[in-house]
């Protein structure tokens, strides 16, 4: 078992970095694009501060449409876009495009739900104190929802660590790729086992970190 680790150690190490790169890019895009999208979904939704029923419906359908694609199909459909953006359709950077597109609506819905869980009365109190919408978002909604937002981020990270392994099926690189190419196609069972162990450790670490951070920001 450890012979395999010695033999394939370098490959495994490279795969870990590739996975971290894919997930890192994905999380970055999820936060930068999915976060504001979730905020807009919340603000324009029913009873929201800037309720826009039609706009919200259309946006909601778009988000759902994106979420209904089987992930592997989404990767294939996006190949032209990926080629345009990254110049190639294989490797971790290319896979990060598909992963990011999948992560945006995923994280957006979690953000929307986290904001919805902020008690409406707290927003009422801010309005009656004379706060503007921008101040309410910045000083009330986001900080009050922070523990839930951190948990949403953790859930997204763990889901997309797993998705990044699926992307291995189309040559993304990373741990999933290694598991398929060596563990599955070449019957190197030990490589497969090591890949699973590494994935397990990554997921555990992410969960620990996420739970710790959520507790740290929670004053309730």
């Amino acid at each position: 078992m450890f012979d395999a680790l010695v033999q394939y150690g370098d490959l495994l190490q490279k795969a870990i970095w590739e996975t971290l790169l894919m997930v890192g890019i994905t999380m970055g895009v999820a936060i930068i694009v999915g976060g504001p999208l979730g905020l807009v979904l919340y603000l324009t939704g029913r009873g929201g501060l800037m309720e826009r029923r039609w706009f919200n419906e259309v946006l909601g359908y778009a988000v759902n449409a994106l979420r209904s694609f089987p992930f592997i199909i989404l990767l294939v459909i996006l190949i032209p876009v990926t080629r345009f953006l990254v110049g190639t359709s294989i490797g971790p950077r290319a896979a990060a495009v598909g992963l990011s597109v999948a992560a945006i609506p995923f994280f957006a819905r979690l953000v929307e739900q986290s904001l919805r869980d902020v008690p409406r009365g707290v927003v009422d109190a801010a309005i009656s104190a004379g706060a503007s919408y921008a101040q309410i978002v910045r000083l009330v909604l986001l900080p009050e929802a922070m523990p839930a937002l951190v948990s949403s981020l953790t859930i997204t990270a763990i889901s997309f660590i797993a998705y990044s392994a699926v992307a291995g099926a189309i040559g993304a690189g990373g741990i999933g790729d290694l598991a398929i190419r060596y563990g599955y196609y070449r019957f190197e069972t030990e490589v497969m086992i090591w890949c699973v162990i590494v994935m397990f450790v990554l997921v555990q670490l992410t969960q620990w970190l996420g739970s710790w951070a959520a507790r740290a920001v929670d004053k309730r």
Partner: protein, 265 residues
Amino acid sequence: MTARANAAPAIDMRNVSKRFQTEAGPVDALRPTDLTIAPGEIVGLLGFSGAGKSTLLRLMNMLETPTTGVVQVAGADLTSLGEAPLRRQRRKIGMIFQLFNLLSHETALGNVAFALRVAGVGRRERRERAREALKVVGLEDKVDAYPAQLSGGQRQRVAIARALVNEPDVLLCDEATSALDPHTSLSILRFLKRLNAERGTTIVIVTHDIKVADYVCQRCAIMQDGAIREWIDMSDPRPASPLGQFFLETAKGWTDETVLPDGSA
């Protein structure tokens, strides 16, 4: 007081109504209502759940936008103000709530300072003034406590300090003591009375508890089905409506003979 009696009303509502659109169709939470409250008055809005009293109160700082009518509070017509002037005007109208509605991620000081922060007051000044406001409500030793570390009564005091830190002309109280035990309620109500006596703050209190209205208010609107049924002078209460009579009986204490407002025994 005499000088104030001639002054413009603190709150003046003309033909104000509120209709909510729900899945089941439109609901008239408040039917067209006129109401005038003089500066320095303490007025109660009394009624059961769903009578429209909270809606009426929330119209007084435009937490709800009226379907019809004009709402003048603290010298400005809220219904004709743009967003920025409305926000400035709201600083003259404090509000406290049944469930306190404090920011859980801010300390007592941070919660009170919030009302100054949104008004653009600098950090040093707002900390100083927030500390002062917390002292007024007797919480000078809880400045750095988070709401989760405070009792219900203490949380409401923080909320009061937040509502008062901008020195409002009007204080709106939405079931402010309904979630508190009797002795805490009494101490909060005493504070409101003192505030009214010392600063002349106009206070509007929504409650379903006649004891609250009886102790604090000078006069009370009895509300039912989205309308004010009658006004009662609390110094000499002579309610004409069955609902008003029921409330008065309740204040004295229920007996086997107490008649319910729908006429049943």
